[in-house]
Symmetry: C2
């Protein structure tokens, strides 16, 4: 029943999945929320720890827009993952107690079926023939993948940013499958500002002539558009205070800019380095699909009202974490979420953290995030 | 001595100056701060009210990055100006008492000499042969223009945003020429975040193939780059709270986007409409020069230290206005500025306003800005 394989549907020129990445083929075709159909769906994932005999210790970790399933190192892939401090033996999400599984979102490009995957009907990459993607589809594909892996019920569903939206969708759509919920720097829907920010990122990618209306060869992607969009993204992921302290008005060590109006300040070279790294590993069309899915997400559509929708959730314990310097998902949104979960009968801990790193603080502020997460899991397991 | 004429050096395809715009040719060539030289400099301006016989009622208004000198309507041009509620008969800056002059910044494109002006040495537009431009050059050219117009000393120098930086530079460079200072939503230098934001805008313009390394024909400018850069600018000019209230998550009335990943939310069409209007009237190279000048500006270079530099200022009364929702020039910067001016012996009123419109509040929040400005000018004239 369980199919595990190295992901096969990814063309050679797309990003290579990590050494520890495995994939599961869903047993049935997937009908997406906005009407599209995927005849074959593969979901890539990595795991840490062992599933208990009762299969009651599984912790699902959804990712944000850009990371793959390599959330932490493991014997199969000792390279550091994107949430290295959080996941592993003795870590806050402890692989000695839990079976932790991190999935690559449907529509992404690290082994799961997405716009750069081969469409079995044509033998060519989907590109823009990939159907319209929603957060709910990410949740549904993940749910089907977990069932294939023999996991019917989660100890906890965890997600940050887009991953937090995915975790909320999962808990609303499959209420019996989620005992606990951890939502970090996310919300029941995006703010107007966040929508404007992401819409502009998408428009920047689409404006790159190399995007070719989505039909770029996978080995000649719209690198410049993706690079510029990533810089704009980064501006909303971190915080002005952090940059002021780290970079101030320091100039780059190279004295003369090599092009008119070229880079001059250290902050520019920081953004450039990050964006160059990103543009080489992320598929532009995946970015467009996932980015738009975040704008579309609105928990309220799952019920007569927002509180009715949230009332579907059966998880009885939740941790909601927000960061005061986050202006992409401002902390008022996590307060709102905590109240809604509480109104739905969930015992909620709301943690408002003073990290200076803005929206991305969960990736880097181990000092504040690790104790917060550890406390939640320790308390859950002590009951 | 006074030369007044319709601006002559602007090519036909560049933005046309307004009906009330006049221009003064500087009597001498201008040596710019970073070493460049402009052999001929014209400065465009508009005026309201009459200069008193003692020439002691002149109020200079510097503009932000994008506006021209048409700050308010007048008999010669009855169309509304960009600060219509602020300037005119009986308005807070009262043309019945004051001779108000608004200048088009050196390097801009509304009649003053800038990158789209004809280089007398070649008979062609300067484009990137225009010398490196600083805020101090804008102040120096303006000072020379005012002297040509017979104004040696200002009742008050006023400026918002880039204009506030220009006013500060003016007061440091020509201390005896400024009796009072009004600085709105500006600072002694830009934050790291603001630099990153503007550097990305410039890179977006430069990435438009139609920019052609700055050598675009003036009738075929890099419209798409300018349009996208303007959208990014707008995201830093307004505030998330304002947009949430005005647009929320409302969709556009057109149901089906006409292109893949096209516009869908009302906030997108608002940005698009503004950006399209802007791209048709503003020269892309002017944008690059003025934008970079803001990043370069640092009041501290005018003395051994920042406070020594500010100590040069001889204005004895100042009004500093900041807006709590401004994240481009956050209110902490206006607090810092007020303290520095106070330390320099100036009597300072610091107004921290609760406008929701962010950095651009001075353009639209008449309710809060008008009384604040009126009080300052009434008090000054009552002494």
């Amino acid at each position: 029943m369980v199919q595990i394989a190295q992901p096969a549907s990814t063309p050679a020129s797309a990003p290579a999945p990590g050494e520890a990445t495995r994939a599961v083929m869903l047993p049935e075709r997937l009908v997406l929320r906005r009407g599209g159909v995927l005849e074959q769906v593969e979901i890539a994932y990595e795991t840490w720890g062992e599933l208990s005999a009762a299969a009651d210790n599984a912790v699902l970790v959804f990712t944000g827009l850009s990371p793959g399933p390599h959330a932490a190192s493991s014997p199969a892939d000792p390279s550091a993952g994107w949430w290295e401090y959080m996941i592993g033996p003795g870590k806050p999400i402890d692989s000695e107690r839990h079976f932790i599984i991190c999935v690559n979102s449907l529509g992404s490009c690290f082994g799961s079926t997405g716009p750069s995957s081969v469409n079995p009907a044509t033998g060519k990459p989907y590109r823009l023939d990939f159907p319209e993607l929603t957060i709910e589809d990410i949740a549904a594909a993940t749910h089907a993948a977990l069932r294939e892996l023999g996991i019917d019920r989660l100890h906890t569903a965890v997600g940050a940013s887009l991953g937090g939206m995915s975790a909320l969708a999962y808990a609303m759509m499959f209420p019996a499958a989620v005992q606990r919920l951890v939502v970090v720097s996310a919300a029941v829907h995006a703010t107007t500002f966040a929508i404007a920010d992401r819409a502009l990122q998408r428009e920047i990618i689409r404006s790159d002539p190399d995007w070719r209306g989505g039909d770029y060869p996978l080995d000649r992607p719209p690198l410049n558009g993706l690079r510029l969009a990533r810089k704009l993204g980064l501006m909303s992921y971190r915080s002005a205070v952090e940059w002021q302290h780290r970079f101030g008005r320091e100039r780059m060590s190279v004295e003369t800019p090599d092009e008119p109006f070229g880079m001059e300040f250290q902050i520019e070279s920081y953004l450039e380095a990050n964006a160059r790294k990103f543009m080489r590993v992320f598929d532009a069309n995946s970015y467009l699909y996932l980015s738009r899915a975040m704008d579309w997400f609105d928990a309220a559509v799952h019920g007569e009202s927002l509180s009715a929708a949230m009332g579907r959730i059966e998880a009885r314990e939740a941790l909601v974490i927000g960061v005061r310097s986050d202006f992409l998902f401002p902390v008022a949104q996590q307060r709102e979420l905590a109240e809604l979960l509480s109104g739905a009968g969930c015992e909620v801990e709301l943690a408002e953290l003073d990290s200076v790193q803005g929206h991305d603080a969960f990736l880097v502020d181990k000092e504040r995030f690790a104790p917060c997460m550890r406390r939640f899991f320790d308390a859950a397991d002590a009951r």
